[in-house]
Symmetry: none
Subunit: 205 residues, 4 copies
């Protein structure tokens, strides 16, 4: 059982992490100063050091939190567990893009742009990526096993999917409402083609 004090500390950290992840994601790790983060939190710069030993550590923790949340939401998506591999993969793709576009405007950059993190943090980030990747890999593997999917190579396909999804927020930057939904759907459909699934709304040849 956690004491009230510990709970409060946890909340504070979470709050910092949320804001930091958002800012790092939007403007890039290097472009965001701790002063910026502190100001947005309405806190002194020094206070951040009470919770995090360095900017690097804050950055890693932010990525980790963001990645954990993200992965958890995908894992808990009901549609990811029902139906054919194609249906499940499409559901995962859509949800992933939706989260990227709607909640973490440009946060995926944190995963894609390789920064020379200190070793300690390198490992944590890798573990995170692996877990996240596994979600998609499982479904693709299954589709390949059943013969439903045709792929060049699972690794390559997954990489392409993630690379494309990471850019989604940039592409969708201006879109709202139905246009946004439609863009998301189209992107998911496009990526389904990487496993050999032709777009559903077009008649097969």
């Amino acid at each position: 059982m956690v004491s009230r004090v510990e709970r409060k500390r946890g909340q504070r950290i979470e709050q910092i992490l949320t804001v930091a992840a958002e800012m790092f994601g939007e403007r890039g790790f290097d472009a965001v100063s701790l002063e910026d983060v502190a100001e947005r939190l309405d806190v002194s710069k020094g206070s951040l050091y009470y919770y995090f030993a360095s900017k690097d550590e804050l950055g890693t923790a932010a990525i980790e939190t963001l990645g954990d949340d993200w992965t958890a939401r995908l894992e808990q998506l009901p549609a990811a567990h029902e139906g054919t591999p194609a249906q499940r993969l499409r559901a995962l793709l859509r949800e992933h893009i939706r989260i990227a576009v709607r909640e973490y405007p440009a946060a995926l950059r944190l995963f894609l742009v390789p920064r020379d993190w200190p070793d300690a943090q390198q490992a944590r980030i890798k573990a995170l990526r692996r877990r996240h990747d596994q979600l998609f890999r499982t479904v693709v593997d299954e589709g390949v096993a059943t013969g439903e999917f045709t792929v060049t190579g699972v690794d390559t396909v997954l990489q392409c999917m993630h690379a494309a999804m990471s850019q989604a927020p940039v592409w969708c930057a201006g879109k709202r409402g139905a246009a946004l939904d439609s863009a998301i759907a189209e992107l998911a459909d496009t990526l389904m083609m990487l496993v050999g699934e032709l777009p559903p709304h077009r008649a097969p040849r």
Copy 2:
């Protein structure tokens, strides 16, 4: 008619741009200081300001040079003008990836990571992207027109291609020789699927 002096100036600028593009590409715009660039050129930092008004301007110009070279090489690729749209597209993809991986290890970061360039530079970069994009778009459009390609939407497909190709240097970071060639080929094949082309080395079902 250009004087000898102007010609020399042009050469100097070109030399600076080449080095700068390389360095920005490798380590990222922010991580490279003008001191670094000057040192590699064996020139004083102040001299750079004689040719470029600011670091931003040098950055934009470098990107432009790099992008121009890149696009020119793709445009001049013989295979890009012969054969079916599929053959031409595959040739373009392979060459593009090859350049990215072999010559500009991380240069694409410059295009993908949106930096808040001043407006003046923003425009130049956009124009560059458009010209580069047009190369691929033409081929895809043609394939769609002939019915050879099946796509969800040309824009989306092109975006996915570029996003994936931009990450290629990261994925191929450790590979050498045959393994590298094979990885490049597989990536190109994978991206061909985005236009409905199944991998060539697999028998269609």
Copy 3:
């Protein structure tokens, strides 16, 4: 009569002072943060402020404690009260060096490096030095009075002795066991020469 509470407070203070003196002595006043001290005491940083008004005050008190202990040990040394002035002085020197080298590795730095303490603390430290100095002065004075010692000037001789002894921990940094004992003895013998006592193990000319 002191209450149980006051006694406990006294013990707490003594404990803090012991640890602080040790740490300041080893690494220097400036290099030790209150965080460091608190951590070693397994206490919160804020708690230290309950006992000491400032770091300076803690520093002075620590020096005082250390100095008091040191002086007390020299005062209680039996050999310091028996035999000829030469025997007593040599005993004092040896014990002083032994304490410096063995127990307060770099503590003398606290006395030698003049820090700009606030006036209040300046006085306390001066008083401490005087009491400590008096021990040696008494013996030297007596030796001079009996004609046993030949000195240029008592003040100067004492200063030289203390300066040399303060550096002893540095010189003996690597030595252990017999080598250490021998170094200590030689240093004491050397300093005895400042009062005209030739080394005992050499035959007088």
Copy 4:
């Protein structure tokens, strides 16, 4: 042949070094900020980094300059090369103390207080000390060889001499004119006793 530009640069460096050595010596390396040094030089903090890569490097260079000057002056002292070992040693001691007291008020602290310099600088400082030490060692060795000096051990004697001389500026802090000269002479005489030389102004027993 050095160009005018190089000469100017050298002068600037020397000027910085002189001021820095003085300040570090007076108040201690840690207690002096680069801001302090810059201000005294009427220069911006950043400028110091144009000449020295870090505060540590500035510190080492300052020590080195100071030590070089000091040693050179002792080496060139005519009295250090004439007469008996006793006369030469006394001349060295007096000049050394004179320099310490008059020109580098508390600079010797830089040599005595062991700071954890980076390895690169550690070596340079050691070399400096050795050269400086050699001056005194030569004379003492010679006096011992001729039987003129009686010592416990040359190393120990030299260490005591230097330790004592380093504190001299502190002891002489308030003295001026004749009182200062007399104090210096007495200190030198006192240290001569470490090699068995009784004070000259006292009748031998």
